[in-house]
């Protein structure tokens, strides 16, 4: 199949996509000629549209309903047609301003980020919390809660704090805890979390350590603290999707909300973007979540220093305004990176 499109076909395809993004309705040949200053008759446009359908860029819901761009069309649009605008200065200001405010911990900043993404894009904002693995160990502290319970506080270089309550087998007093954290802090400082894990295993086999009950206990505790299987996902603005005409149907809505409950799947999807340099886009079925097959996801990684920490993004209908959303996601990721970075 020959996928190279003539200049005219491209113009028509773009016109159809633009129209569809605006209206969410199938686009007919007449409205293409009317609204886009092409000096062509509807009949000609129909011929072209027929070709585009053949090539898989358009689909018709039924015989007399105009045509709808397919995922393939949107992919082509995003890759070849789209002129990504610079971000609107007003939005830029708004994003910056929304971050200002009281002192907060990283968790709150991420939640806010998700909220900002959603309210500025008018779609759904999503942020996954830093995957510890790539982050650098800074400090670990233990606090006695009650006899058997210890609160472990782990801080990474990017300022992410992880609290964890650990049940200990034996009673430990405050001095033990201080000694333990000193030992660990010295041992692990500057390593990434994934290096830390390896280091702990290695250290445990060390002769000297094996005979020091306290040290080996410390290593065990730190191992438990680091066990970070469940990354947090912040999703905000799900209501926005209710405004989209294509989801006015209750069944479709249920599907989407269910998809958002299964955070692990979303996580897996977004994890796939961890290596991307900048903005990444999944269109429709490309995301492989059957419940989200009419949605697109625009993601960008955020970082702290050289390490990619996590992913943020916007989820919206396949026909979202990519030209508007892409710069929002990109800019927000940059600001968040700035906020988390060490100045």
């Amino acid at each position: 199949m020959n996928d190279t499109l003539s200049e005219r076909s491209r113009q028509i395809l773009e016109a159809i996509i633009d129209d569809y993004i605006r209206t969410a309705e199938p686009v007919g040949s007449r409205s293409v000629t009317r609204r886009h200053g092409l000096t062509l008759s509807p009949a000609t446009v129909r011929n072209v549209m027929s070709d585009l359908e053949e090539m898989g860029f358009l689909a018709s819901p039924h015989t007399s309903a105009g045509r709808v761009p397919t995922d393939k069309a949107f992919r082509f649009y995003v890759d070849s047609l789209l002129q990504v605008r610079a971000i609107d200065p007003d939005q830029q200001d708004e994003i910056r301003n929304r971050y200002r405010g009281r002192c907060r911990d990283v968790g709150e900043i991420l939640k806010d980020t998700s909220r900002i993404l959603s309210s500025i894009s008018h779609y759904i904002g999503i942020v996954i919390a830093p995957r510890f693995a790539a982050d650098v160990f800074r400090q670990i502290e233990f606090m006695q809660l009650c006899d058997r319970r210890i609160l472990a506080i782990l801080v990474s270089e990017s300022g992410v704090v992880q609290n964890r309550i650990i049940e200990s087998d034996e009673k430990l007093d405050t001095e033990d805890l201080v000694r333990m954290s000193n030992y660990l802090n010295n041992l692990l400082k500057g390593l990434t979390i994934s290096e830390v894990k390896k280091r702990i295993v290695r250290e445990m086999e060390d002769e000297k350590v094996r005979y020091d009950a306290l040290l080996s206990r410390a290593l065990k505790l730190s191992e438990q603290t680091l066990d970070d299987s469940s990354a947090e996902v912040f999703i905000e603005g799900q209501v926005n999707i209710l405004e989209q005409p294509e989801f006015a149907d209750v069944e479709k809505m249920k599907d989407i909300f269910r998809a958002f409950e299964e955070k692990s799947q979303l996580l897996a999807l977004l994890d796939r973007c961890m290596d991307a340099e900048r903005v990444n886009i999944f269109i429709g079925t490309e995301n492989f979540l059957s419940r989200m097959n009419r949605m697109s996801v625009v993601t960008a990684p955020y970082a702290s220093g050289p390490n990619t920490l996590g992913i943020l993004g916007v989820i919206g209908p396949t026909r979202m305004g990519y030209d508007r959303v892409i710069p929002i996601v990109d800019y927000t990721a940059r600001i968040l990176t700035e906020l988390l970075g060490r100045e």
Copy 2:
């Protein structure tokens, strides 16, 4: 108006409420006689229903549609008719089991609680994080992040950890920070957070402190750490509401989801239950949130030791199965209290 009901009226009202809870449909006079072994004719039941409507217990959506219990009817039902069952032992086990598992911090426990409430009740689970005010100060620590940024970690007796990043005016070195936290920990130990706040203000006026730059800086930092206007709210299982037939309409659904976005209002509502001894119920319009006027909220306080910390509950349609939900909420609150308590 005479609100005392004859035994028969009560039976009929209860039958109607039961039916309505089961079906979400207006209940007609015939189905009352059919399904509840009353040896009465539909006509008689109609007379009684007419009286009940007069008294405000029933309402008819239109002339030929049977009758629907009003909020007043549910209030009467909950107060006078309802036999709260003991909790189902299976559910009891399930709740306990769901809490078992890896070591977690309090935030995660609360989120899990909300998830448990939702999945066992099949409605929406809600938990508000401990309102610090009533909790007891245990410990505060500071960590240097970068030049100007300090991470403050505040732990309360109930194990709630609050992290906060504070921008400091001046550079502080690690020793300063240790001295500061020692000073504060000595000063504040054992006070409730609201006492702590007062104490800080008092201490700041102290002559000795005013001339010690470090101490007054410490007080300032702790003040910033304690500034806790926004309590966290965990809401889970919003999808469940989509299963309820009375919300099949898209507009109503939007309303409800919007209500859940305005967490501050929910917070205000639940805050009103802080003083309740045990289970508290808001039925329909009693909750004063116009968007939630077809929903009820069943709440219970959870505590740590003698101090009520926060509120948890279940939100469902006005016609929810109160006999099933009340013991679930009550029991979960007890388990959570147990988990947060110091053994």
